[in-house]
Amino acid sequence: MSSQLSRAFAPVPSRIEDAKAVGLRLVRPVRSRARKAPFVVVVLTVLSIGLVGLIVMSTVLQAQSFEAARLQSQATSLQTQQQALSREVDRLQSPANVAREALAIGMVPNANPAFLRLADGKVLGKPEAAVAGSNITRVTP
């Protein structure tokens, strides 16, 4: 097949003679000075960096996603704990609880309002000692 092809593309002998006559001659084909290897390396490098980058990024994102999920659940549990503690605080500082504690250590509510005016040291109203059992004596649950 190749012999047929080269025969088909071979120059006609008369034309070679004509070329020689005008001073043309056959020269060696010029070899390209650019080498192929560096180009391939560059392309491969870019591709691999891209690939590795993608893998790294996606791994990091995945890892962060797990971290986010973990932190989220931690936040929820802390929020729950905060609610539990603040409810406990509310319960402890509720008037009923404070009154119960106060009555337990023998304090008596005072139903005789009187004031001390700081400007001149005058007592407004008629101060009177609160008598045990004269006011609230228990806290109904």
Partner: protein, 582 residues
């Protein structure tokens, strides 16, 4: 071509046809999926990998005047179980739940539930705080006992328990307010739930950078009330003690700032505990201050006197001849004590609470004039307090009054009121003749703390300033040592007040019941510059209880505490001496 070759060719053709038919089927199906149902399948694919989460908006809190929480919301859980999975381990599961949840569940009841036959879904416990339920779930996980699940919900809590329960109201199972402020401000308190949709991996982690949509939730607004939490608690307790000591059916104690008409305390006994959901029957959950009508009795005499004083027909020292008894329209009327003909001043009539003296004084007014004054004082009309289910009481039109009506209405029988109406009317006398609408809410607050004020109508003049001060003078005589309620006097202060002992009406027959009373005391202090008005009502106490002996001491204690808490110092002036007789 020989026979064998023909056979082979036929077989080849048959195979070709079969292959073509199969490929044609594939092609048709491909066309259907890619061409016809493409969007539906794409949506299905996305849906299988996405998760939609509802972000429940927390219900707003109800705050007292200083920002203390009276009602608030926390995360809660409902525990459910699949009896098919729990039937074998029921006692172990019940034991762990009982250990972690305490009295929230009953051990034997829970075992029965966990063994429910032919069921795959039972409720074990509702309205559990999340922190408690979480502990139970974790303990079950640790013990390797499957079949108990939790569902998220918002739990309404009332840190004060019974505190101001009838004012605050409560929410139903769906979290909707169905009584009190919870009902009236339900729209304000309820937020808008948000939602988020995002793609998740099969293990449930969110896929980063995938599509997600988030609709922000809008939390409910807080409602700030005019209530002072500590005073409210004190009044709740003091009233509960009084109701028990006097074996009354129920009692009310309300305190209002007369300058602004803000209710600083509104107590009712017996009451309920919305936090523990105990005592929630109708007789406890009704808000008696606005929903219960009753005949007020002698407290109404202050309104009659204010009407007369405004017309210039009476002063504190106006002489009145009080007969021993009267019969009007064949209806005998007397005073609570036996007496002959008395020569009392108007102040004496109020100080001794004489029905007959009041009738004599009120006869100076026509039916229409008296009716108009009572209407101006707001009887027969709702107050502006803006609470659900408010009653407007009963005041029949003056044109329909009989002589007996005119007489009895002047001392508070034959007219039905709510406690809030009575507060508003006497509040006008305390506020120098100007009446304002009682209010319980000052503002609504959004999550950034921005307040939006809730406005109430401006105050309007009902009677002249002089008329108000005349009646105040008469009312000061009530708390004097020779008045009907010396127990209401607060040492160092000038206190104006009026007792009430009204006959109770049997709601079924509409007739008065002998020996059953509604006793009350209404008073304000300091009388020379009124700041607070307190009203105590005790319904059906033991039979010889009176306003002065039973209700006045409660008034004394609650009023004293209010003056002390709000730093209202006495001016030091003395009550003017007004003669009770002539």
């Amino acid at each position: 071509m020989n026979a064998a070759q023909v056979l082979t060719r036929r077989r080849l053709r048959a195979c070709l046809v079969i292959i073509l038919v199969v490929f044609a089927l594939f092609g048709a199906r491909l066309f259907q999926i890619q061409g016809l149902d493409a969007s539906a399948y794409a949506a299905q694919a996305v849906a299988s990998g996405t998760q939609k989460k509802v972000d429940p908006a927390p219900r707003g809190a109800i705050l007292d005047r200083n920002g203390e929480e009276l009602a608030t919301s926390v995360d809660g859980l409902t525990l459910t179980a699949d009896p098919k999975m729990t039937v074998d381990n029921a006692p172990q599961i019940a034991r762990i739940l009982r250990e972690k949840l305490g009295n929230e569940i009953d051990y034997f009841d829970t075992i029965d539930k966990l063994r429910t036959p032919d069921s795959r879904y039972v409720y074990l416990a509702k309205d559990l705080p999340k922190w408690t339920a979480d502990k139970a779930i974790a303990a079950l996980d640790k013990a390797g006992l499957p079949g108990v699940f939790s569902e998220k919900e918002t739990l309404r809590t009332y840190p004060g328990g019974k505190l101001a329960a009838n004012l605050l109201g409560y929410t139903n199972g769906a979290g909707k307010g169905v009584a009190g402020l919870e009902q009236q401000f339900d729209k304000t308190l309820t937020g808008t739930d948000g939602s988020s949709t995002y793609e998740v991996s099969p293990t449930g982690q969110r896929i980063p950078m995938a599509d997600s949509t988030v609709t922000e939730m809008v939390p409910g607004r807080d409602v700030q009330t005019t209530i002072d939490r500590d005073l409210q608690w004190y009044a709740d307790q003091r009233l509960a003690d009084a109701v028990q000591a006097s074996s009354s059916d129920w009692g009310l104690a309300i305190t209002m700032d007369v300058k602004t008409c803000q209710i600083v305390q509104m107590s009712q006994a017996p009451t309920f505990n919305a936090d523990e959901r105990s005592g929630m029957d109708d007789s406890n959950t009704v808000s008696r201050a606005v929903q219960n009508v009753y005949e007020p009795g002698s407290v109404m005499k202050t309104v009659t006197m204010a009407a007369l004083a405004d017309q210039g027909k009476i002063a504190a020292d106006t002489p009145i001849v009080v007969p021993p008894k009267m019969t009007i329209d064949r209806f005998p009327i007397g005073d609570y004590w036996q007496h002959g003909t008395l020569k009392l001043t108007a102040a004496g009539v109020i100080a001794l609470s004489s029905n007959l003296g009041t009738i004599v004084a009120a006869q100076q007014m026509s039916d229409q004039t008296m009716y108009q004054y009572f209407s101006k004082f707001g009887f027969g009309q709702k107050t502006g307090v803006n609470l659900p289910g408010e009653s407007k009481g009963i005041l029949t039109n003056g044109s329909e009054w009989t002589k007996a009506n005119h007489a009895t209405i002047s001392f508070g029988q034959g007219v039905s009121v709510t406690a809030m109406q009575m507060m508003r009317a006497v509040g006008a006398i305390a506020n120098a003749g100007k009446m304002c609408e009682p209010s319980v809410v000052t503002s609504t607050v959004d999550k950034d703390g921005t307040k939006t004020a809730v406005t109430s109508p401006a105050s309007k003049r009902i009677v002249s300033k002089d008329a108000a001060s005349t009646v105040t003078r008469m009312m000061e005589a009530v708390t004097a040592p020779d008045g009907t309620a010396p127990a209401a006097a607060i040492k160092g202060y000038r206190v104006a007040g009026k007792t009430g002992t009204a006959w109770r009406v049997d709601p079924t027959t509409g007739r008065y019941i002998r020996g059953q009373n509604t006793v009350s005391f209404m008073g304000f202090a300091p009388a020379d510059n009124p700041r607070f008005l307190t009203y105590i009502v005790l319904d059906k106490p033991y039979s010889n209880a009176g306003g002065g002996s039973t209700a006045a001491p409660v008034f004394h204690d609650i009023m004293s505490m209010a003056l002390e808490r709000f730093g209202v110092a006495p001016s030091g002036s003395k009550s003017p001496k007004v003669a009770q007789t002539w």
